[in-house]
Symmetry: C2
Subunit: 433 residues, 2 copies
């Protein structure tokens, strides 16, 4: 008969998913409770509070969508946008295309503001289009892993308010590893997934909604037949096209009314709770700083191997770097993928390929979650050095590791303020609670 | 700081979610691998095969949708139905309303064929409407937990073929605990969730599609911008309204092309794989028989306590029984809920409330997954006896337990052919593999 699941040991240093924190994986093994058990509803409410810290918000409407990061994106867009609405989508990589695609499927008119892959979109161009269109929403990716660039967001909240738009941000690739300020930046809706900097598995999508966004969604509230009561009049707005991703109903489920919708994915709730709990224990700011420090060491390391990085240094996310595949490998069919395969097979280390115009041009190396640590960075650079050399590429012996160590400043703890880690993540400050 | 998750011990005997098999929970603690790691893609392919056994099908398109059972329902309906399509929805409870609601949100014209709660829909009435409408699909719930009734499905495949319709079935509440024959019954699309008879947590939706259904979905295939290649021409059909729940794209992700869509929820994949693996080890038929045996003992037991069951005995699902709340409790506000709360607080046992017209009228008691076992049935009946007595209801001492034991025939193993269980589920036939 088929055996128990028994995955091979891996060090996941691609653009995500990356290794989940073992404590998050263990949290998922906790027993289930009933949907309306007081422990369950208390845990949901507690989880909302833990995620407010991560999002840096006071938004009451801060909860989880039961699905991958893409479910969170679609829930936000299909609930905010109704057919015929205009939406401005700054786009500088694959995931900008995704926001446009999802908005189109929601029936919206999409106004793209594109920038070349490897750069970001000038906020003045976004403002110009928004002033002309006066859209329902501006929808933008924060960090687009396809290009490793992070769009500066601090000017967009003001543009959204000036033009009467709601500001939606896809923070899947950046939250928990880069500075992200929901309230200070005037973001109305933001979503993420657990599988990148947040240290969990894919399958739960944290979301936060400002009161403006929540009001927009409530204006489209239609409680479904079968559970509606006499006082559940339909809101004036058009019914949301999706039932599963209908945030008005999901808000009623997470809110005090506890109106049944889906059956909450309890194990993923436990995982999301544990991710947020560990981030709170480490400190949101300290965690972003840790990602910046180890990400910088990786950038220094790949350059120390003689590889060229892709994209504008000023806008690179902390947690992923793209490197040009050496020309000899780029021109030989399959040679770039063979190097990645050798790294996986001989060293158990995964780095990423890429999409669209960058496919076959760059590899993407991630430094995030538990992978944002010194030994993971150094082991990746050492492995990469060896597989490149065996593929016939001239690489300086120890060039990557030395450059990373120099970036760390030679300190045993990685050169920053972080505590020495016990295991893969931050130590529990209060023992095994 | 906030503590680790530490749920209270519970025995979940409601209509679902119920206790997950501990082996399924442990499978989720396995380490992640990359999305396109050979181990990952092999595991996806292996999981498709394991689920074909559970579904009793040879359908190539048998995979998972990343979300709760409701995500599976919506994925099927939004991918099969385009705006303006007609759909016939037999409805005999809350989840029939849900299929109608989701179909409406997908833009379809819904033709309901309703039956009173507690009964099922006469197939001749379904045939009559389908002949008149010639719908794109007939969409029906198999077992509707809101009423505990299971719609006979064996005649519907022929009706669908005769009228040119696709037959969709929501098997969330029945699969793995009742006879379900995808191919023999001519079902074109069926979906489920793990949290009932299948013994897992909510959050992954198994799905199977016949070649007819898959062809319909492929006729609406539109690969998204950002990953499409030159040969990805748009199919002639209307683009599917959802991106996340677009089965054409999800089929490309699970199929040999491995075209990136969402990031597969790896831990939930491990859970779904383990559910199917354990069902295969027990045997699909043996498992349905186990649910029938323990479900019958619960029905006998509640009657032995003097409670009346709700609904037509001929159509009751194996795995859930509704009992009328004793009249004195029904008429006293909150008294019915207080009995359930006492059972939870004093015995750690959860039974369910109900929805819509049955709210405050019946309790629903589930016997499914690992809960379909002798000690769980007897402990529930014993606890219920005590809380009813303490609420002032006259109940015969030992009446529930005795009647259940009589239903089992007095055999130590529950009276059937099942092996003595080690722990909560079937023993591993080959040791700890």
């Amino acid at each position: 008969m088929t055996s128990q699941i028994n995955p091979p040991p891996r060090l996941l240093m691609g653009p995500g998913p990356v290794d989940a924190d073992p404590r998050v994986l263990r949290a998922m093994a906790a027993p289930l409770v009933g949907q309306f058990d007081p422990f369950m509803t208390d845990t949901m409410t507690e989880t909302m509070g833990l995620w407010r810290e991560v999002w840096r918000t006071v938004n009451e409407q801060t909860f989880l969508v039961d699905g991958t990061s893409r479910a969170g994106i679609e829930a936000a867009l299909v609930s905010l946008l109704e057919p015929g609405d205009d939406v401005v989508v700054p786009s500088f990589g694959r995931f900008g295309h995704l926001l446009a695609e999802i908005s189109e499927r929601a029936g919206a008119h999409v106004h793209r503001v594109e920038a070349e892959w490897g750069s970001v979109v000038d906020p003045d161009r976004i403002a110009e289009v928004a002033r002309r269109v006066r859209p329902r929403a501006i929808a933008v990716v924060h960090g687009d892993t396809s290009t490793t660039m992070a769009q500066p967001l601090d000017a967009l909240g003001e543009i959204a308010r000036e033009t009467g738009a709601l500001l939606y941000v896809d923070a899947t690739a950046t939250l928990g590893g880069n500075v992200f300020e929901t309230d200070a930046w005037g973001i109305d809706a933001a979503t993420a997934g657990l599988q990148k900097c947040l240290g969990g598995p894919s399958g739960s999508a944290p979301i936060t909604l400002s009161e403006r966004a929540a009001a927009r969604i409530r204006s489209r509230r239609h409680v479904e037949a079968g559970i509606r009561s006499a006082d559940d009049g339909d809101a004036p707005g058009m019914r949301i096209r999706s039932n599963y991703l209908d945030l008005a109903q999901i808000m009623d489920y997470w809110g005090p009314r506890r109106l049944n919708h889906h059956t909450e994915a309890t194990s993923m709730l436990y995982a999301a709770r544990e991710c947020a709990r560990l981030i709170g224990a480490e400190g949101v700011g300290a965690r972003a700083a840790r990602h910046a420090r180890h990400g910088a060491a990786m950038v220094a390391g790949v350059r120390g191997l003689g590889l060229e990085t892709f994209g504008d240094d000023r806008y690179r996310m902390n947690n992923v770097v793209a490197v040009h595949i050496p020309e000899r490998l780029r021109t030989e069919p399959g040679a770039g993928d063979a190097v990645r395969a050798a790294l996986l097979e001989d060293f158990g280390i995964e780095i990423g390929t890429s999409f669209g115009p960058l496919h076959g041009q760059v590899w993407r190396i991630g430094v995030m979650g538990t992978g944002a640590r010194r030994d993971a960075v150094l082991a990746t650079l050492a492995g990469l050095e060896h597989v490149l050399r065996r593929a016939g590429i001239g690489v300086p012996a120890g060039g990557g590791v030395d450059a990373a160590l120099e970036s760390y400043g030679g300190h045993a703890d990685g050169g920053g303020a972080e505590p020495v880690l016990q295991g893969a993540g931050p130590a529990e400050p209060e023992g095994d609670v």
